[in-house]
Symmetry: C2
């Protein structure tokens, strides 16, 4: 059963294709009586414009991609970072009546496929979040004239606008609080050092500690719960007397908490813990997790807003930095 076309609507309404097109696109220059007749024909036929045909002439698709260069198993794990970003982006795109196309690019193959997809003009713009290393993708797409905006400052030479969260200050606030509450041996479980979030939170930890006379004690995880537990066990082995740990994500903090308790440490009496994110989990750990709150959904929304402006040809800021905030619960 072939879908009805403009042509058939025009025939039925007794007007030209151009006129039907004007009605469909809400052009103001159509007589009211004709508009009504065309609308009726559209309804009777169940006409819906063919998007491919429309895109071919307008050069727009009204779709935007969110690219997450991660394996599906990480994006769709119990890490609440990704859902938060997706939710923010889709809220904002929805209200602009644009379609979100979500692309998860774990492998090199899918990375390449996504590049081709974007270059095939499937979409009007691209959002990239959770980048690793100096990913060439944003630069490549931007050079081909595709509007691109990153979540988190791109590493390397890439000059592409971005929206991020104040990771350095978040790390500083956490460590400052630990110092102020009298902790003396403050360790950290950092995030992956090929990601800005991992790098900057560690920087914050180091900067704040440098102001005191404490030395830094560092282990590195990959933002998963398991890596947090592994890192915590390693820290305890390296420095059995540590009395605080700043963990670069709540999920890792949960793993660390379990490792601490398994090792017979009381939290917060023996060891204080501060996470990063403030995902729902933070309220359900035992004891509830003190953490640095970052506006994840807000970051997604801001990313979409900036991209829409960029795609509309407006000029936007090179970067937008969203504030973080310390939330004290039961682990400090």
């Amino acid at each position: 059963m072939p879908r009805p076309t403009l042509e058939q609507v025009a025939q039925r309404a007794g007007v030209s294709r151009a006129t039907v097109s004007r009605v469909v696109n809400d052009s103001p220059t159509v007589a009211e009586s004709i508009r009504t007749a065309v609308r009726r024909a559209i309804d009777e036929l169940g006409y819906v414009p063919n998007q491919a045909a429309r895109s071919l002439v307008t050069q727009r698709t009204d779709s935007y991609a969110l690219i997450l260069p991660e394996s599906p198993s990480r994006v769709f794990s119990d890490d609440q970072f990704f859902p938060g970003i997706i939710r923010g982006v889709s809220q904002e795109l929805d209200s602009a009546d644009k379609q979100l196309v979500l692309m998860v690019a774990g492998s090199q193959a899918s990375h390449d496929r996504i590049e081709r997809y974007a270059l095939a003009r499937h979409i009007d713009g691209v959002l990239i979040a959770s980048m690793h290393g100096a990913d060439p993708l944003p630069g490549t797409l931007a050079r081909m004239g595709i509007p691109v905006l990153c979540g988190g400052r791109p590493l390397g030479q890439t000059r592409v606008p971005y929206v991020e969260v104040d990771n350095v200050n978040g790390g500083r606030m956490a460590v400052r609080h630990l110092l102020e509450t009298g902790r003396t041996r403050i360790a950290t479980i950092a995030g992956p050092q090929d990601m800005v979030a991992g790098i900057d939170r560690l920087t914050g930890y180091r900067e704040e500690l440098r102001g005191s006379d404490r030395r830094s004690i560092v282990a590195v995880g990959d933002f998963t719960r398991d890596s947090g537990a592994v890192a915590m066990r390693q820290l305890l082995e390296d420095d059995p007397d540590l009395d605080a740990v700043f963990v670069a994500s709540d999920l890792m903090a949960h793993g660390a908490l379990q490792a601490l308790q398994a090792a017979g440490r009381r939290v917060p009496d023996d060891v204080a813990v501060i996470g990063f994110d403030d995902i729902a989990l933070a309220r359900y750990t035992e004891p509830p997790l003190s953490t640095v709150r970052q506006p994840i959904v807000g970051q997604g929304r801001e990313m979409a807003r900036q991209l829409l402006r960029l795609a509309a040809g407006e000029s936007i800021a090179d970067s937008v930095i969203l504030p973080t905030e310390l939330v004290i619960r039961g682990t400090t």
Copy 2:
């Protein structure tokens, strides 16, 4: 900077547009020397076919939609059901080199927009999961000739093929285990009664209990953690002597566990708990949650596989039912 077209590649390679098209689409009837020349021109120009133009003639887009008629805040909550389905679907679509378009339709407005999107031939087929009530969407799309496949049996008259999990038997296995381990007052926290998963798990509970001389004790939640806690408190009030509860999702079971402990009940000594899903959380509750495992990712994969067959014009089964399995941990 305008993207290069077929025309320009043809000019550069000194051949016709038809020949370039054949090379791009791997037609075997092209002389090797010409093929090489065209490939070189494509590389030099960085040519990527315009998908809108291609779709207009082929009537295909190589994209498939996964529609989730839920609010974004539910899809992107810490409920691991949605990520699991998405992950399974995207795995299968990826390996068929198809693009996944994820659509979350919480409101009536977005529901309508999605219908238009599908009818605009943006996609070659549609997957719908997590339906509520007798949603007209699958029937509407199928009637317009769009290949449609549902996750979970559609309620109402809709005759659309589906893939689901054996919810009834899952409920039965849980209750049977509770009976066999000597529990006498077995309650249930059912899922929403406008969803097959909610209805069928309750049916399983009822059927199994009917074989014994126990009476049923029922509360209803909406699959969220909070609703599980609320329902548990209500059950304890209704029947303070209950000694077991079958909960229709792990997330609700977590809420129920917390409510039980807050009410001073020991688990499993005073009250046994069995959940449903076997998401990662089930291993992290205290004590670890006994549950009915359903193959969530597997369901997503099977859905995509069936849809691809359908879209390719093959005939497929009206329904595929995946088995569930009882997993005993610390709450029974």
